[in-house]
């Protein structure tokens, strides 16, 4: 078995007395797509900066491509890493082609491959224009192109699909699948779990620097109690008190004729009875699987609840 590309053991990082990351363990293998999911400030960008050696951990050990990234010798290892920062910024006076050439030179990668990279992200036609005139989506695509310079073995992508329209998003994930099939390990962060359906092999949910879930999306669904969403439409408007819902989100709120309940599948009948007992007649009931965003919210809420 080959060694993992990334290994994080008990890593902690504090900023201004606040835990940015606490006792985090993580492994990323070759050809794997791992998604880091969490709100802003959950520790996603901190982890990526640690993996790049831009900051040092306060505790724990990190190995990236066989090196400690904060050590001087790790600069060479970065040749095999492609990185896309959360907010991509370039020197506005340079053209797309010039910027890509600059980064390729820094990586010691052949400049001839740049044309293909620009075409791959759909920027071939505007490569000669200054980046200052690019739209946000175009800058993001240029960012992706620079991350792919030199055929990296490991990709670290911080919120990579920000500013991409749905079509490009599709193309982007298709590209990631291709790269993963070639053995590239991909770590990408996102604040939306829903976007990652069928995209990531594994999802790690972070909350305030701690890992609250790690597994496939199916695992996560199970961990959240396989929640369902029940939409009830009443014959007449009814007042409904919040807080009568299930353990997943704890919400049963209605405005007028609609009542919405989100709860584990196993509890759905009990919930329904509790909410509906003694009310006006029901006009319609709709049962839906909870969306990934609701599962995500449920996981975070479950983590926030006091233990016991």
């Amino acid at each position: 078995m080959t060694a993992p590309l990334v290994r994080v053991d008990g890593v902690a990082k504090r900023y201004a007395g606040r835990d940015a990351l606490a006792a985090l363990d993580l492994v990323l293998g070759a050809g794997e797509i791992l998604a880091l999911v969490g709100h802003n400030g959950a520790g996603k960008s901190t982890l990526i900066k640690l993996l790049l050696g831009l900051i040092r951990p306060d505790a724990g050990r990190i190995t990236v491509l066989g090196h400690d990234p904060a050590r001087a010798g790790a600069a060479e290892a970065r040749r095999a890493i492609g990185f896309l920062p959360e907010t991509i910024a370039f020197h506005p006076n340079m053209t797309g082609a010039e910027l890509l050439a600059f980064y390729a030179q820094l990586k010691g990668a052949p400049l001839a491959a740049n044309r293909e990279l620009l075409a791959r992200v759909g920027l071939a036609d505007v490569a000669g224009q200054r980046v200052g005139g690019y739209s946000k989506g175009m800058r993001q695509r240029l960012g992706l192109a620079q991350a792919l310079i030199g055929r990296p073995r490991l990709l670290l992508l911080d919120e990579p699909t920000t500013g991409l329209d749905p079509e490009l998003r599709q193309a982007f994930y298709a590209l990631l699948d291709e790269l993963a099939a070639e053995g590239v390990g991909i770590l990408l962060s996102s604040h939306a779990l829903a976007e990652l359906e069928h995209r990531a092999d594994r999802v790690v949910v972070l909350r305030q620097g701690r890992k609250v879930a790690d597994g496939t999306l199916t695992d996560l669904r199970r961990m959240a109690g396989d929640p369902v969403r029940i939409l009830v439409r009443m014959e007449a408007p009814v007042p409904v008190a919040a807080g009568a819902g299930g353990a997943v989100t704890g919400v049963a709120a209605g405005a007028g004729r609609r009542i919405e309940i989100i709860c584990p599948a196993a509890e759905k009948m009990d919930r329904l009875r509790a909410v509906l007992s003694g009310r006006e007649p029901v006009a319609d009931i709709e049962l839906l699987h909870a969306s990934l965003d609701e599962i995500y919210a449920g996981l975070l809420r479950r983590d926030a609840e006091p233990v016991g």
């Binding site: 060479e76 970065r78 920062p85 991509i88 910024a89 370039f90 340079m94 030179q105 010691g108």
Partner: protein
């Protein structure tokens, strides 16, 4: 080594692209030519070399302008990139942080050096073509160009240090302005005030020498105005030069130190800075 060259070339290309180099060279050339052609007009009657007189006026111009330009060019070189988010990406590449600092420094020195050499060179050439001075004056003029670039390099290094220390580009701009005021204006005024107050009781010549050498603009001034007899005659410092005889090598070394020390400090600070 290679990343340094790549980063320096990127800085130069950007400087040429956003016309900073052109603006700097035009400003310096305009002022230098004005001084050279108009400022030395009366010299014909008193038998002074126009080239030598121009060295005096140009070095005064340099003391004010070159440090200011160097600080304007560099104050945001690190702080600005950190602020805009381009630094994080740059540091994710296979290079060391010191290479970023040295590359940026080198790029800015080349830009400023180029602008100075072209601008002052044009003024010198104009005078030389008019047979305005002898060989000694030409040597003095070449010294002026060389030391002006060295002074520029000292302030490029200082500006880079300011940029690595400052939290954001606005703070860096404020500190850079303070540095300029302090070294170009306040230092000399304070020294003068001290000398007057002291009446020569404790501040003896060696100490005054040391205090002058400790400020890069004063080291530059002494180097250009007292170093060469041909020029010293017109600088109004010939009396002073006798008391403050500091060897040109010492002055050059002082300027060199003013390049090396802030640069080394920038490297050290940036190596520890969280990004």
């Amino acid at each position: 080594m290679k990343p340094i060259v790549i980063i320096a070339l990127r800085e130069i290309r950007e400087g040429l692209r956003n016309r900073r180099v052109l603006a700097t060279a035009s400003l310096l050339a305009g002022l230098a030519l004005t001084l050279a052609l108009l400022g030395s007009a009366p010299t014909g009657n008193v038998g002074a070399s126009r080239l030598a007189v121009t060295v005096v006026s140009l070095s005064s111009l340099t003391i004010f302008l070159v440090p200011l330009i160097a600080l304007v060019l560099t104050h945001d070189t690190i702080a600005g990139e950190l602020d805009r988010g381009t630094m994080v990406l740059l540091l994710s590449y296979p290079l060391a942080r010191w290479q970023v600092v040295i590359g940026k420094f080198a790029g800015h020195v080349v830009m400023l050096g180029l602008a100075t050499a072209v601008a002052y060179g044009a003024a010198g050439l104009a005078l030389w073509l008019g047979a305005a001075g002898d060989d000694a004056a030409v040597a003095a003029f070449c010294t002026l160009i060389g030391t002006s670039i060295l002074l520029g390099a000292a302030f490029v290094a200082t500006g880079t240090l300011v940029s690595t220390l400052a939290r954001d580009p606005r703070t860096a701009a404020g500190i850079a302005l303070g540095v300029w005021l302090a070294s170009v204006l306040l230092y000399d005024m304070a020294l003068l005030g001290l000398l007057i107050a002291d009446q020569g009781r404790t501040l003896r010549a060696p100490l005054v020498q040391a205090l002058l050498v400790a400020n890069p603009t004063d080291a530059y001034r002494l180097l250009n105005l007292t170093g060469l007899p041909e020029v010293g005659q017109f600088a109004g410092l010939s009396g002073l030069a006798g008391h403050l005889a500091v060897a040109p090598a010492t002055l050059l070394a002082a300027l060199g130190l003013w390049v090396a020390a802030p640069l080394a400090a920038s490297v050290a600070v940036f190596a520890r800075r969280q990004v």
